[in-house]
């Protein structure tokens, strides 16, 4: 695969790992705690485990797996809302596959489907729109989920539905935005993260400017990174170089995909269709101001929350779960009392165990070859 294999080149990796080792040794002097680097994006978490990167790095370097997996931060109450909508007899509920197994307080979408709800797995919101076209007598609800990466495609789908007058299509909007959440994390007094590996796909849409406050106000480096192992190693090296030099800047390792200014067309569609919610609940993190979006008034007809009586349930996370602390890096997945016992990928309690981008599922399945072994 051209343009993929180059980024998995063992020789390049060896060179990068050597440089990281040398820098880590320098950083190690004069500190007792590890150098903690948070990869914000779930795609990065997945890649770190898939390629076994943790085992290749010096012990002093610790990846903290941040809140960038949209499935993982979806609160249980929203899953209950999904199930309530999906169980309406007139509804075809269309969702990305990875949301199917997220536990609600009563059941997951997968269980709802087994119980008779018409839940369909789609690969794109346009597939859901096609379902609406082909089933004019039914209400097709698309479960919109994800950060700025998926927001534009959902926005464009709503715009197309409006243009074509497809009135039996609506969006259950659970799109969230990472910036306010990063700020909320950084404002925690005991937040022990030294630097960030920034989300590549989100940045492809929003560009790099929105991260500036991380360097300017909180004096942490952030490097926007791609998803191949070489990308991650190089980005880590860039973060460490800044730390060694006592700098805090926003850098872009993923310039082959991420323009500094983002994608203006995508941003325009997002601005046209969505408005910020006053607050949105994140699983494990609680309510965070201005961290979610909903459809603007002109598109109210396509808003499933306005079209159906959504119960809007608030459900507390199970007591035993420590998802929130895992998400912020305060606790390692295997230190959670239910990790691998009460909470497994087969029977997840917390969403971090559901998605392959969740830190707990990643440790459980790919086995922490270091630390958790």
């Amino acid at each position: 695969m051209r343009f993929v294999n180059e980024f998995r080149d063992p020789a390049l990796a060896t060179g990068l790992i050597r440089e990281i080792g040398a820098l880590a040794a320098r950083l190690e002097r004069g500190r007792t705690n590890p150098v903690a680097v948070m990869e914000v994006c779930g795609g990065h978490t997945h890649a770190i485990f898939r390629y076994g990167l943790e085992g290749l790095l010096p012990d002093i370097i610790e990846f903290v797996h941040g809140p960038g997996c949209p499935v993982c931060v979806l609160p249980m109450g929203r899953v209950d809302d999904c199930v309530a909508i999906a169980e309406r007899p007139e509804v075809i509920f269309a969702t990305f596959g990875d949301a199917m197994r997220v536990p609600g307080s009563r059941k997951s979408l997968l269980q709802a489907k087994a119980d008779g709800a018409d839940v369909r797995m789609v690969y794109s919101p346009l597939d859901a729109l096609e379902l609406a076209r082909r089933n004019p007598g039914r209400e097709v609800v698309f479960f919109g989920l994800g950060f700025e990466t998926t927001m534009p495609s959902t926005a464009l789908t709503v715009l197309r539905a409006a243009r074509e007058g497809i009135s039996n299509f609506s969006l259950f909007c659970n799109h969230i935005t990472i910036i306010p959440t990063l700020r909320a994390l950084l404002e925690q007094p005991d937040f022990g993260i030294d630097g960030f590996i920034g989300p590549g796909h989100v940045s492809m849409v929003i560009g790099t400017a929105p991260y500036r406050f991380i360097a300017e106000e909180f004096h942490r480096p952030l490097v926007v990174a791609g998803f191949e192992p070489i990308d991650l190693l190089q980005s880590l090296l860039m973060v460490l170089r800044q730390l060694a030099a006592g700098e805090a800047r926003i850098e872009n390792q993923y310039a082959r995909v991420v323009p500094e200014g983002g994608n203006p067309a995508a941003l325009a569609a997002v601005a046209q269709v969505y408005e910020t919610r006053p607050t949105f609940e994140w699983r494990g993190l609680g309510s965070i101001a201005e961290s979610g979006v909903r459809l603007r008034e002109p598109y109210a007809a396509f808003d499933a929350e306005r079209r159906f009586a959504v119960p809007d349930v608030k459900v507390a996370d199970p007591d035993a779960c420590r998802c929130g602390e895992v998400l912020t890096g305060a606790v390692k997945p295997w230190a959670c009392p239910v990790f691998g016992t009460g909470c497994t990928p087969e029977m997840p309690l917390g969403a971090l165990m559901v998605s392959s981008e969740g830190a707990c599922a990643a440790y459980y399945q790919y086995g922490g070859m270091k630390g958790a072994a």
Binding site: P10, G55, R101, P229
Partner: protein, 355 residues
């Protein structure tokens, strides 16, 4: 009483309708027409003796083939029914033949039970049954008994097939999932993941342009070749649902050994890799329908590989891993640039209804 006309001669049993209806499962003449016309003539040939309710086997003939009977069953619900490289019929025969063969058995005979959704075009059924007959001939087995049910629309999806098979295990041969020992070598006869990728692609909802075909094939000859070349063979499995990862994990667990595989050594077609890359799938978990994973003692590995490579289905045979004492129960993959990760069993299904 004298009947003033001769009773009409029974017409040849032919299905005249274009689609299967509930009447074809009703036990009357329509059902007998369907069974005779579509199944019996294809499986047993014209002029076959009147069918009984069961197949009967000569025990002396069976006993000459080995010292134990092997018996297995499998149901097939693949969607779509037809895909590049095969159809549900070839799959239903090869799947059960392979389950017999990997136990060291010589496959002898299969049953064929079908559940048909009303409305299925009779031509579709004929095509599938013809595929079954061809696959059975290629595998050297007979289809000797069967059953036909028709259910209302929506009660099943088009066509489900169950095949049950018997075979005879070669005298003295001992193979088993619990027999791997540290030092053994793990072999596979060729490219991994083609079937799973072909099925997903054939569903058409991804609109990807690739020409990946299913690897669906009977593996009994490869088993023959292997047993001759590597008489110490420990275990054989066909890597179907759950892919190579499932077989390796079962092996590690049952034999209480570790298995180490090297990502670099895994035989995966570039198109399948690309396909997985786009969809976020792992080719190690993709189903195969013509891939044999075998564990042999290290000293027999070279002979096994060169013997396999002489066979059309074994040209791409390679060693993909080794059995080790460390980390019993675990499959560890050495990634492309020296990292390690655990290859676990799949939770739930990566793709539904692939076989």
């Amino acid at each position: 009483m004298n009947i003033p006309f001769d009773r009409p001669v029974r017409r040849p049993r032919r299905v005249t309708q274009a689609t299967v209806t509930l009447a074809h499962g009703g036990g009357g003449t329509a059902m007998r027409d369907l069974i005779e016309d579509v199944f019996l003539e294809t499986f047993a040939g014209a002029g076959h003796p009147a069918p009984e309710d069961q197949a009967r086997f000569d025990l002396t003939a069976l006993a000459a083939l080995g010292d134990r009977l092997a018996f297995t069953t499998d149901s097939f619900v693949v969607d779509p029914l037809f895909f590049p490289g095969g159809d549900i019929g070839t799959l239903a025969v090869c799947g059960t033949v392979n389950d017999l063969a990997v136990g060291g058995a010589r496959p002898v005979a299969l049953s064929c039970a079908v559940i048909i959704e009303e409305g299925l075009p009779v031509e579709t059924l004929r095509t599938v049954v013809a595929s079954m007959a061809r696959a059975a001939a290629a595998a050297g087995v007979s289809i000797v008994t069967g059953d036909t049910k028709v259910v209302a629309r929506g009660a099943c999806d088009k066509l489900f097939i169950t095949t049950t098979g018997i075979g005879v295990v070669r005298a003295g041969l001992q193979v088993g999932i619990d027999r791997a020992r540290p030092g053994d070598v793990v072999l596979v006869n060729g490219l991994l993941g083609d079937h799973g990728a072909a099925i997903l692609n054939a569903r058409g909802d991804l609109a990807l342009e690739t020409t990946i075909a299913s690897d669906c094939a009977p593996l009994h000859e490869l088993v023959d070749v292997l047993i001759t070349a590597a008489p110490g063979v420990r275990m054989m499995r066909d890597a179907t649902r759950g892919g190579a990862a499932a077989v390796l994990n079962e092996l590690a667990e049952a034999s209480a050994v570790g298995v180490r595989v090297r990502e670099m050594d895994l035989p995966i077609r570039p198109e399948v890799n690309g396909f997985c890359e786009i969809l976020g799938l792992d080719p190690l978990y993709l189903a195969n329908e013509g891939k044999l994973i075998a564990v042999v003692p290290a000293e027999e590995a070279a002979a096994a590989l060169s013997a396999w490579r002489m066979h059309p289905l074994g040209q791409g045979a390679v060693a993909v891993g080794t059995v080790v004492a460390e980390r019993p129960g675990r499959v560890v993959m050495e990634t492309r640039f020296g990292g390690e990760r655990i290859v676990d069993m799949l939770v739930g299904d990566q793709l539904p209804r692939i076989c």
